[in-house]
């Protein structure tokens, strides 16, 4: 008989206690799996969407709002800035690239973003169908947006005012779908992209252009914000201060704001982490109590095993293996349950097209989960194993 099989048999000789301990351990481990998954995916999403964006320039207001609305498209923008001021930035010697974005409209709660082709190239997105826009009022859909809207190339739709569903429709201005992007995992997946000029066209009074002339119109045109890339990292020292003090605009550095955001979220994750820790601790104690009483119950059996020639270390190993089985089972169940919870969260969140979280992702940090499972169960088994190690055969003989 193998020690592993024997430990397994002993574990399930008390099915209720074993199942209860398994449940407790799995719950703790599932919470930890869930936390690890969510923080890993948020980090990755931030990293992916922020890649190559050194600075976001927009209207005065909250810098966090500027980043959330301009980069992640999960907040409303603070306001608009003159197109002219943004174009000026392009000429600044420290700036490598400026991508202007115009927000304000949406279609069935998917945002319509006016920009240039640079925005698509920036995220290295590829076309799955059709072409990029060549003139105003043509749009390219992100992969998720296209799937959820069920719109195909060649179809037309009317955008509505505002970023939430239910805004006033822009009556006679039809957008035509000319292309659909392949999934890139970036924020583009859930956007509707078009030329900046489309947004101007929709919002400017009809016929105004002819009346006042192109020159005058350029003066008046606005964009919501601009994504900037520096020529040199040294620009981070002086450029934001220049924007904030010398122009009427605001500069927000995504790296700084995200650090701030994460430290704010940090409190929430700390609470969850503490909760998971308490669960694990409870589970550990419960395993300890179960094994401890198992040793007391089986004292005679253990003593007899000594009598039959088992060295003390073998009895201790038997107890440890029993805990090991429990730990292994709990790790497997906990990982699965955690993935399930992340999948459920992803499913809930994708309904309103916000952050990208899902299950069935296996980042290397998940190794922590089985490690913790084994650590907790081994720790819980330590004293009981010592009890088994020290079991006295004389007591068996004396019939106590």
């Amino acid at each position: 008989m193998k020690t592993l099989t024997l430990a397994w048999t002993y574990l399930w000789s008390r099915p209720l206690a074993a199942a209860l301990n398994l449940l407790l351990l799995s719950l703790g481990l599932a919470s930890i799996t869930f936390l690890l998954l969510v923080s890993h995916q948020l980090d990755k999403a931030f990293e992916r969407d922020l890649q190559g964006i050194d600075l976001v320039v927009g209207a005065k207001g909250s810098p966090m709002q500027l980043i959330l609305s301009g980069v992640f498209h999960i907040d409303v923008p603070p306001g608009n800035v003159p197109l002219k001021a943004v174009l000026e930035l392009q000429k600044h010697p420290l700036v490598a690239q400026v991508i202007p974005l115009s927000l304000g409209d949406s279609f069935q709660s998917f945002r319509i973003v006016g920009s240039s082709h640079d925005y698509i190239t920036h995220y290295r997105a590829q076309l799955a169908q059709g072409l990029l826009w060549t003139q105003p009022m043509q749009v390219v859909l992100g992969a998720i947006a296209a799937r959820k809207l069920g719109v195909a190339v060649g179809q037309t739709f009317v955008g509505s005012h505002g970023l939430a569903a239910g805004g006033q429709a822009h009556g006679q201005n039809f957008y035509t779908v000319v292309g659909i992007l392949a999934p890139s995992g970036s924020v583009l997946d859930r956007l509707i992209l078009t030329d900046s000029a489309s947004v101007w066209k929709v919002h400017e009074a009809h016929g105004k252009a002819e009346e006042e002339g192109e020159e005058h119109l350029l003066e008046q045109r606005e964009v919501t914000l601009a994504l900037l890339r520096y020529k040199t990292p040294l620009a981070a020292m002086s450029f934001p201060r220049y924007i904030n003090s010398q122009t009427g605009m605001q500069a927000a550095a995504p790296a700084l704001e995200i650090t701030r955001l994460l430290s704010m979220l940090g409190l929430g994750t700390d609470v969850l982490r503490a909760f998971a820790g308490v669960l694990l601790l409870t589970a550990g104690l419960s395993v300890f109590i179960a094994l401890w009483s198992a040793v007391r119950e089986r004292r005679g059996d253990l003593a007899l095993l000594r009598m039959l020639g088992a060295p003390p270390i073998k009895l201790a190993a038997l107890l440890l293996l029993e805990a090991l089985w429990l730990g292994l089972l709990a790790a497997a169940l906990g990982l699965l349950a955690g993935q399930g919870m992340a999948t459920a969260l992803g499913w809930l969140l994708r309904l309103d097209n916000s952050l990208l979280v899902g299950g069935m992702v296996w980042p290397p940090t998940l190794c922590l989960v089985p490690a913790m499972a084994l650590g907790v169960s081994m720790l819980a088994a330590l004293l009981p194993a010592l009890g088994a190690y020290r079991v006295s055969v004389l007591e068996l003989l004396q019939g106590r």
């Binding site: 048999t9 000594r306 009598m307 039959l308 020639g309 088992a310 068996l396 019939g399």
Partner: protein
Amino acid sequence: MICTQGLSYHYAGGATLRFPDVAVAQGATLLLSGPSGCGKSTWLALMAGLVRPTSGRLVVAGQVLNDLDSVATDAWRASVIGFLPQTLHLSAALSVRQNLALAQWASGLAEDQSAIDTALAALGVAELASRKPAQLSGGQAQRVALARAVLRKPKVILADEPSASLDDEAAADAVALLLATARSQSATLVIATHDARVAAALKADAAASADLQCLQLLRCLP
């Protein structure tokens, strides 16, 4: 074969037990008797190498136990001593067959089903192999425990109060079974008991009474 000289055992902070010398030939029977608390259990523990004598020399089955370290003693005990405890301690979670396999596991042997079958058949309980201990009668359980004790064909069989809680007939049967088993294995049999029926049963057996030795332990005062 058991041979002791000047054996004593000192309990930490308690009494010192001194045991009379014995010399039991291989295959003979020793009746260890005396009231409870006189040191029968301690004597058995000494024979099995579970505790070390405070003084004196102890030779069991040709092995000077004083010379062995604890790891070697465990291995020695597994191969030489067969033990029938008063409380049988058949593991309730395991079947009869698995309980015997457990003995092989404890002594570090590979599982040997044919040895298990032989041992069970020798004691007439082969058909109970797949039952759980809870499904056995008292007599059947004792036979299974004895099968477990003699699984490795030990040179010495130690039986602790084998007649406790048995009626007269069953007690006589138990002694007869022990004698028959020990004889078939040419093992030295030690029966520790305070039950007069056991002594009577041993003396009634002609072959056993021929080489029967009695070791009477007296109550010792602290």
